[in-house]
Symmetry: C2
Subunit: 161 residues, 2 copies
DNA sequence: TTGATTGCAAATGCTTTGCAGCCGC
DNA sequence: GCGGCTGCAAAGCATTTGCAATCAA
């Protein structure tokens, strides 16, 4: 089962430095320490293009030669979430949380129930939802979580109907 | 922690009959049996106005004198979901699923992070999301899950800011 | 040095499953 | 009576937590 379709994967080495610097700055700015596990999780999140289970992430990290404990990955991700560095969503019917970098632009997820593929969809939709709520209902949105499941174009063309 | 604000709770006895008939019809139409646990879960879903944990549901059922096993409640809810009688959502940060009747109209949830209140919001928003996806992306939406968390009007007025 | 952070293992919480007995049809 | 359903207990996952050792600052 495949889990993403992102393509803008810049040359790894080039930006690896930048990413690391970004992490260290954020950590220090908030009074947290810069540690190997945190660097490893951060790097893995960048390498894998989104939507990984904590377990998958841990495997990925191990494959890169770092070996971080599951519990630490959980703790690190919680921290990253607090610092707005990462986000979790529950996609599809699975009950395991899936993690990705916290992109500054708001987007939502398109989960294909046939091939399991997860697509990002960036657009004004989420922004307009916020607006709508704030104006019409006095509700101050903090987080907008939109997950759409169905059949992606490819699977519609392949299958019948 | 309170969990809902629905008001259209019709006179219980009046519609209880109707609801029961509805359940039995749907069950039989799909080749399933009409049993006490199923009636009990169905009734509890109607009594409680939405968003109950399986555990809460089971307690509610027990309070009504029916005593159904947790496992059976799970199984029953799974069945109801298949038959489009009930829906589950994961609201807020808790990891327990919350169940409600499958209202025919599409709606989404507004979760207040301060008071824990969950509001339904019925509108054209979900429909327009569907449309947008189908036209613009060839994606055939099956289920649209939209959960917005933030601060409700009341909590904004009470608190500062 | 000192306290934040980690690894390990055990615990927790929600949900699922195996199976023998029960009951709707 | 047959086979679907239920209750009970045990198992399964994802996630959390306690605690001693470790390491960044």
């Amino acid at each position: 089962m495949q889990h993403d379709t992102e393509q803008q994967r810049r040359t790894p080495d080039a930006s690896a430095e930048t990413h690391r610097a970004e992490l260290e700055a954020t950590l220090r700015a908030n009074g947290h320490r810069v540690t190997e596990p945190r660097r490893a999780v951060w790097a893995a999140l960048h390498r894998a293009s989104g939507h990984l289970t904590v377990e998958e992430l841990t495997t990925e990290i191990a494959a890169a030669g770092a070996d971080v404990d599951l519990a630490s990955v959980y703790r690190t991700l919680d921290l990253f979430e607090q610092l707005d560095l990462a986000r979790m969503s529950r996609l599809g019917d699975s009950d395991a949380g899936r993690w990705e970098l916290a992109h500054p632009d708001e987007h939502f997820h398109l989960v294909c129930l046939v091939c399991g593929n997860v697509d990002h969809h960036v657009g004004s939709l989420v922004a307009s939802i916020r607006e709508h709520l704030e104006e019409g209902h006095g509700f101050e949105p903090d987080r907008v979580e939109l997950v759409v499941s169905g059949r992606c174009r490819r699977c519609r063309e392949d299958g019948s109907t």
